[in-house]
Symmetry: C2
Subunit: 310 residues, 2 copies
């Protein structure tokens, strides 16, 4: 049983919810991140190490006396990774390869890694996408995630590591900032709270798999406590179009806004939905929060933040 976990990237949007879920499960938590959370004060139960996980010395210190590692840090996002792939490779791939070497040296045998179901497959040949779908990413972000998965697999084959790779879809929920297409729900709600106009690229038929961030945190904790290893899609398992999101946002906010429709962007995959049967069977987990409930919860949180900011 895991007693103490290092969460790399634990002050980020998803990481902060993983920390909450670990604490709720009675696990001691240390966080390694570059800066404190944006929307909360530091939690008294958590041991924070502020530093860069690509710095081997800070990583070594952060790994001291932990039983397991939850790695959900990324120095890049999908939409910008192609601008500087070398920085993507250096900041994420090389840093994670160094992490794997340290885990072996320090005899830490459990790792959960947050990969990306939205980018490692590229343009889906079929939907929903299963884990054995070919990997033809069209972003450096996806290529690097795919390469990291392979180094993890190799370490499992050649060493004693037991790892779970979770290919996340698009998480949304409280503490999500303005993060472009991947975080369209957060972006829409923040814009509405500020009285700004919403934009839709294309005709709104682009479909994504949106997962409420607490469901995402739950699968991370389940993976950490499981003796299963391998690669698992982690999404809602259902697709929603941008137009569906607009409808859910209207219902949650009570605002009858009209978005502005812009030209479609050539790099948006038209439709991707993850098949999550493997994760359900392995972890006894399932997403519990509907899109409408999740958007409503997110709206409550955005309103509270908007009020606090005056």
């Amino acid at each position: 049983m895991t007693k103490k976990v290092l969460v790399i990237g634990g002050c980020g949007f998803i990481g902060s919810h993983i920390v909450d879920a670990l604490l709720a499960a009675g696990v001691s938590v240390r966080v390694l991140d570059r800066r404190p959370e944006t929307f909360r004060e530091p939690l008294p139960e958590v041991e924070y190490n502020f530093g860069d996980f690509s710095d081997p010395f800070q990583l070594l210190e952060a790994l001291e006396s932990v039983d397991a590692v939850m790695h959900c840090a990324s120095t890049t996002v999908p939409s910008t990774s192609n601008v500087d792939p070398v920085a993507d490779i250096t900041g994420n791939l090389i840093s994670t390869v160094r992490l794997l070497k340290l885990l072996r040296q320090m005899n830490i045998k459990k790792l959960v890694y947050l990969s990306s179901g939205g980018t490692v497959y590229g343009v889906p040949q079929h939907n929903p996408v299963t884990e054995d779908h070919p990997q033809n990413p069209i972003s450096s972000y996806g290529i690097v995630k795919s390469a990291i998965e392979k180094y993890i697999y190799m370490e499992e084959q050649l060493g004693d590591l037991s790892a779970v790779v979770l290919r996340a879809s698009n998480p949304y929920g409280p503490r999500q900032g303005h993060t472009g297409i991947q975080g369209i729900i957060g972006t829409y709600l923040w814009k509405l709270a500020r009285g700004e106009n919403l934009e839709v690229w294309g005709d709104g038929t682009v479909v994504r798999d949106f997962i409420y961030v607490r469901d995402m945190a739950d699968i991370c904790v389940a993976a950490l406590h499981s003796d299963q290893s391998g690669v698992f899609n982690a999404g809602a398992g259902e697709g929603n179009s941008v137009n569906d999101i607009v409808q859910a946002v209207r219902a949650a906010t009570g605002k009858d806004f009209q978005p502005s429709y812009r030209n479609a962007r050539s790099y948006d995959v038209p439709r991707i939905v993850l098949d999550i049967e493997r994760a359900k069977a392995a972890f006894g987990w399932a997403p519990r929060v509907s899109l409408q409930d999740g958007v409503s919860e997110s709206w409550k949180w955005v309103q509270s933040q908007a009020r606090a900011q005056g």
Copy 2:
């Protein structure tokens, strides 16, 4: 039609044969490599640039006024890449990503890349291995090759590049030095020429796909002149065991030696043979040299070298 080609790694074992085949096809050749060929004087028809392809300035200079690039350089070999994966990523992956950026900037639209059919697939789930076989490498070498393939694919999707990726099996032939398991034929012949004993790891039933290096060079030239793009296995398409090699070497050399059998090595994949139907159909190419003929040619060359060295 290609008029001038830059061969990156053109002084290596495989590269030197690609240069020969390009010259025979009437193509102008520039070579970028770190040092001259080991076994030959520089060729008067070839323009040599000596330098490191991971140096962007030397690469820029080498790319000036060429129509196409044949990239067959590697700073690592499969058996040692796991010792320092970070050096593997830096020397090969990052350098090749920089190459792709330069190709785009300099409007060079044709690339042939030598990948590795022996490592990108990992332990085969079936034989012969087709190009759509899952990729689960167990060496950094294979992971880096796989990631390079993905960056090439992405560049084709997002830019104007037309690329052929050739997943080579185990080339052998004249100018092969002592290169361990991947180069077992060269190693055996050199040892025999020096009167040394041959070693077999395990019982000699390990099977590989050995391709005569001139057949390998021919497919590279065919790929360069083709308007096809994509990923292609490049091997003999048939398997030979280490015991088969021992037999062919006995027949070629007329020496009735007995190898020493050592313990099997845990990291040797038991059997891998490439399916080469896709390359045959796309390029009108086929391997022409049988294992026995190739080993005999290689032995003649080793003998000539051994005599020259006195």
